[in-house]
Symmetry: C2
Subunit: 339 residues, 2 copies
Amino acid sequence: MPSTHIIPTLDDVAKAAGVSTATVSRCLNTSEKVSERSRLKVMKAVEMLGYTPNFGARAMAAKRTFTIGAIIPTMENAIFARGLQAFQETLYANGYTLLVSSTAYRPDVEAEQIKALIARGADGLLLIGYERDHSIYKYLERRGVPTLIAWAFAQDSALPTIGFDNRASMRALCDKVLDMGHKKIGFISGIIAGNDRASERLQGVKEGMRARGLDPNDMPVCESTYEIENGANAFETIMQGAYTPTVVMCGNDVLAVGAMQRAHEMGLKVPQDVSITGFDDIELARIVSPQLTTVHVPHREMGSRAAEELTRMVEHVSTGVSCQLDSSLRLRGSLRVLD
Amino acid sequence: MPSTHIIPTLDDVAKAAGVSTATVSRCLNTSEKVSERSRLKVMKAVEMLGYTPNFGARAMAAKRTFTIGAIIPTMENAIFARGLQAFQETLYANGYTLLVSSTAYRPDVEAEQIKALIARGADGLLLIGYERDHSIYKYLERRGVPTLIAWAFAQDSALPTIGFDNRASMRALCDKVLDMGHKKIGFISGIIAGNDRASERLQGVKEGMRARGLDPNDMPVCESTYEIENGANAFETIMQGAYTPTVVMCGNDVLAVGAMQRAHEMGLKVPQDVSITGFDDIELARIVSPQLTTVHVPHREMGSRAAEELTRMVEHVSTGVSCQLDSSLRLRGSLRVLD
DNA sequence: CGTCGAAATGTAAGCGCTTGCATTGTGCGT
DNA sequence: ACGCACAATGCAAGCGCTTACATTTCGACG
């Protein structure tokens, strides 16, 4: 089925317009360097032929793609959606295109995606969290691709980070929970291996407990992937243990919603029988009833700042400066004061 | 800040391995045509140099990228998430990479994205719905890029379609609603202009009403973008009109959830005071309470079938065959029998 | 009108890869 | 030991674009 489609090239346009390829190229890129007369001729030819520049060729010749890559753990729930949206909007405003891929939280997939994005000529990269194999950082360094880390903040990171302090944020929530009289906490965590956000959040709770003289080792902790169903299962596991918490804190909102659902199915009223908290404050948190107490994260601000800084890095006006943002608590119906 | 990073090329690898560039290339692509001995040498060199092939150059030389592009209206809600996930999984299994971009339901943005994806060398394209400007179809045809349309089914489409009958599906739900004794329906639709799914769904309801001798013109219809908040506003608008429906049917689940929320805020009990229905059966539908009555769509099957067919088209073993899938009703708590 | 500088354009050398074709190496039958 | 078929490799021509540099054009000014 060898179809002979005419895929017009720069040459074709040049011929049709009666100018050289250089003029066409200039017209398409730096149109101010071209006379109005030839600009018109060229535009007409482009239109007529249905010409679209070949990105690969362009990238190869210009050594620049105006593309930024972002690699996130998952697209399946909304955790990264809002931040990424802001990231892309800001990028777009600066003349860049965003390419996104996801890793399903698998480090090996992430490594692969990084290479793929670099192969595609990404001028810069956005990564989530700082915890990854050293070889990846070495590779990034050697290729000289500007890279920024978001959704986490670490003073001593090799790469610039922009985000919030996951541990302190969860600690603040934990303090609040304890203030409200809770003494028995259960915790549903995301998978900790290779995920600094998850482990920092767990640490935050433990830290809070210790500060009140409670032993974190008493706390039942259940690790679960970030899916509603699994959050539900984790909740059940915890509640069926010998140690019955009065509050189940969750590593993120998705898990918390799962927990709420299962609580309902088990005949437990939230918050009368058990309180539940989340993290992230995604849309879901206000859709469930009772609404979810959680930690609000400045997703949009983080996304757009990341975009600004990364473009600066790509354009060599900055070598990358870290930036810490604040989170805040959202106290809602799913958490109650213990009598 | 001119950093001199060594970005290794095929040439460097060839030199380091002591073979020709052709051998390295073959080793990386068709490794069966290379002796074990040189394969090892090459691999070692690749490893040592941290080589990653330049995608643009490769695409240009091979005229093939093993990349498929998908352009969807939005990533912000989960409507397309599950189907796209299946699409990408199947693609991946067939050795292809997926590139996704979204249009915010704007035809002009879609046209731009199509060109961008083609410029990036997409071997094939997945588009949502069939309603778009003729010039786009012409462009696609001229470039000879295999394109498949999903989330809709149309016998007479120029391009192969894979999906379900939006009108018949909504009609089935409407029939059910009428069976349950409802006579006064309100409808919250997605924006209809340029969106065949939205308009077909509305038609489905009108069709159902006519079949029972009801006048569709009596029905209050409110168009809204697919956001929870806007669905809520639309609900309020409809309920404050002179004509008070006993059921509000929605063009999709997101709108329906918004409607439910506002109903709650307005002190209306669902389904006692008003019934609400959705469309799509996304996860959200079972998270809200009462759970949402909706139309279940075989997202995953649609996605993976689309991937299969599109790869066949790209590999020239099919010119594209359409495929109609079935939807089904999910009757849940948000819809009640009218006394 | 001739001159000169700036603006506009053209020429052509790559960018890093694949692949058809030519060449070399290998193992086998006789 | 010789020749043959075939596997393995190398050579080099592009793929479509950008851009440094060379050349032409043009208008302004003396």
